[in-house]
Symmetry: C2
Subunit: 441 residues, 2 copies
């Protein structure tokens, strides 16, 4: 059972007396009803890829509980092209769902680093984000219907795809993002989209973050939903990646933007339209990928930043997002505060500017990997303070889990927390589901 | 006060001792706190365009209450192009918001018949739908942030645009669609989009509803989000509209589809691509609009169906939606049931096939306008039974209001209704907000 009890980053380890892997929804219900009657705490688990200890039992679990793993509940129930959707069970791996969509000439857009092992149920429970949010939104926006086993064993089933429906308070959205504290998601109906047949990729040098934001406004106004990626990269981050990959830098500039337009048609006009749009607005320091190979090289520079940095020292990471408009002021305010407290700290700034979420990685070149975490709490607190100052969030796409419960009251009011507790109490009166997660003690 | 107490269709009339029209959020809070202390029931009201009596006091209000009209709280707070959003107060009229967006080179896509008088706060409270849902989703999908005065007078304020954020159970979505029973929306941050520079409009004759659904699948796979309208029209509906408008029918077929692609760029390839796509898949009985005038004529045929029908007798309408895949079987099952019970009834079928919502209008040629409503309850019950049989909803885009509370338990389970009551009790323990609406007695 060891693999189920510890998270992938080996930072959270829990104890249970059993791991249950149901093959059917009925078996999930039977398990949950037994736990309800016997007052046994349970932790729902998908691919166990949480970055916040959301899927491993916490220390606060009263007595020994069980893990309910959804891995064996992983079938495709149905493809429905009329409604442009697919119904899959919770344990299906994200990458499989992407392949299921491709097999019927469609595309499922959620895409993130752990897609080869994370599961759809966990993605929904955590409202996962990833690289395509600028165009398609987070997981919440991709769910049409849910099937959920509630803490008393009742089955809530709304898998029927309704594109318009308003019948009382929305229960589906209360469950999405509740991280297994309100029920076990057993299946979901997910939206499908047309696949891309045209990709146009540009690397643009900009003078400042605000200059990059102006470019974002411009491309969204001209190309609408076609804007599929809009990545910001600091010159320092590019330098690290260029050295690491042995790929030359596409151009020199203080800040860099990697943007991509995609189109479901063979849109031969698009490269020229993008070129004209950039030149017309004075973004002359720019490169358009002329071949698939060149496109891959540009993306390789972006994707290797974390790897490049790993060679120089372990880093403290932050799952933060903020209004796009405020990214520049956050970056300018945060660096001096951090460097005053940690003079040796190096900051690597890059991320999805198109959705306001940043990788804000801090590393200490002189500190050995395992020792860097002694600084984590202190650095987090300094960074988070700056995030809150611009109306941002410190749980952009990884959820709260057991790592961030203490930050909840900085982001949600007392009235909201009281409402969350009332919802929790109504559905899970004995507080058996995923104890110690999401809600502050 | 009379205008505030009766709905636009003159079917629901309530009594109050005052109508309050606050000019500021503080004044809303002061009013609500007073009501909370004095236990005075209140009905929030926007443009008073509800089709279900949602904005007029119901008979079930215990004693006399007040109406809080948001009409005077109607400013634009802020335009934020970096985040592609606008923050407006609840009383702003929908059409004004569309114009606010156009003034900054953007587009706000919610569009519906009452847009000249309905207000944004009401649109959010009812999760309004309209004609652009196939591409942009309902109001729920267009809201980035909310400011709400809760029943105890507390202000819940999350107007900051966060594109990624998961911090506990989603309170915003509980409020959207709650129809004024959980709080008074005072402002909202709304998504903006790129305006269309290219329109390609086609009228396609199809053999059956399933044939129309195949066309929908085809266009969504090829043209993705560009598909902005996909309207189904029965031959009978077209005949009525053609006679009424004196416009000739574009082609002969048992069923008709009016579809439109829009594009934010000058996409000169699009008409030919659509033509090839239609021909390639055997949709040869089709007309592409060659001019703006021809486009307007095609739309005029669609938009005049209701008017054409009004001349022949008052009709019983249904706000229904269902999985797109099931529209054909619903239409085939419902007509014989209705005609068995009401042999003279004429059924006019048309609607937004692209989002599964149908106008299913029934009229009795021999029955005078004011007399037709004696058949409403009976016809509704027959139609709704068929809707439920295919997993549909009888509150697609108008909400529940006071008209449809008795149907709630056909669409929501006992567990869900209990959860809704718990949420209601937590936020509004004295049940003062919009009594008699949404939740069944």
């Amino acid at each position: 059972m060891a693999g189920f009890c510890i998270d992938q980053r080996r930072r959270f380890e829990g104890k249970v007396w059993a791991v249950v892997q149901p093959h059917s929804v009925e078996a999930v219900q039977k398990t949950v009803r037994y736990c309800y009657e016997q007052q046994i705490p349970l932790t729902p688990q998908g691919g166990n890829t949480s970055m916040c200890g959301g899927a491993t039992p916490s220390d606060s679990v009263a007595g020994l509980g069980i893990i309910v793993s959804l891995s064996k509940l992983n079938r495709v129930r149905e493809v429905n092209l009329a409604d442009n959707c697919i119904t899959v069970e919770a344990g299906r791996v994200l990458q499989q769902v992407q392949q299921d969509a491709a097999a019927v000439g469609r595309m499922f857009p959620l895409s993130l680093a752990s897609e080869g092992s994370c599961q759809i149920g966990g993605n929904i429970a955590c409202n996962a984000g990833g690289v395509n949010v600028v165009r398609y939104g987070p997981m919440r926006d991709l769910v049409m219907g849910l099937e959920v086993v509630l803490p008393n064993g009742d089955l809530l089933s709304h898998l029927s795809p309704l594109h318009k429906n308003t019948t009382g308070f929305d229960v589906k959205h209360a469950l999405i993002g509740s991280e297994g504290t309100l029920g076990i998601i057993t299946a979901a109906t997910l939206k499908l989209f047309a696949p891309a047949r045209t990709h146009v990729t540009a690397w643009v040098g900009v003078d400042s973050i605000d200059h990059a934001v102006a470019l974002l406004e411009l491309t969204q106004q001209h190309f609408a939903e076609r804007l599929s990626s809009f990545e910001l990269i600091s010159d320092f981050a590019l330098e690290l990646s260029s050295q690491h990959t042995q790929l030359s830098q596409p151009l020199s500039a203080p800040w860099h933007v990697l943007l991509e337009l995609t189109d479901s048609t063979d849109n031969t006009l698009l490269p020229e339209q993008l070129g004209e749009c950039l030149l017309g607005a004075g973004f002359e320091n720019a490169v358009l990928a002329e071949s698939e190979q060149q496109r891959e090289q540009l993306w390789s520079l972006r994707e290797n930043i974390s790897d490049a940095q790993r060679h120089l020292g372990a880093s403290i990471k932050h799952d933060i997002a903020m209004p796009i408009r405020s990214v520049a002021s956050f970056v300018h305010a945060c660096a001096p505060v951090l460097q005053a407290a940690y003079p040796n700290a190096k900051i690597v700034v890059f991320g999805h500017l198109g959705d306001g979420s940043l990788h804000y990685n801090v590393f200490m070149p002189d500190v050995l990997s395992n020792d860097v975490y002694q600084y984590e709490a202190g650095m987090n607190a300094l960074v988070y303070e700056q995030v809150f100052a611009v109306g941002g969030t410190v749980a952009a796409e990884h959820g709260i889990g057991q790592l961030k419960t203490k930050w909840m009251d900085k982001m949600r009011s007392g009235t909201e927390l009281a409402l969350m507790l009332a919802i929790k109490k109504q559905l899970d009166p004995n507080c058996l589901f995923n104890q110690g997660k999401v809600l502050p003690d």
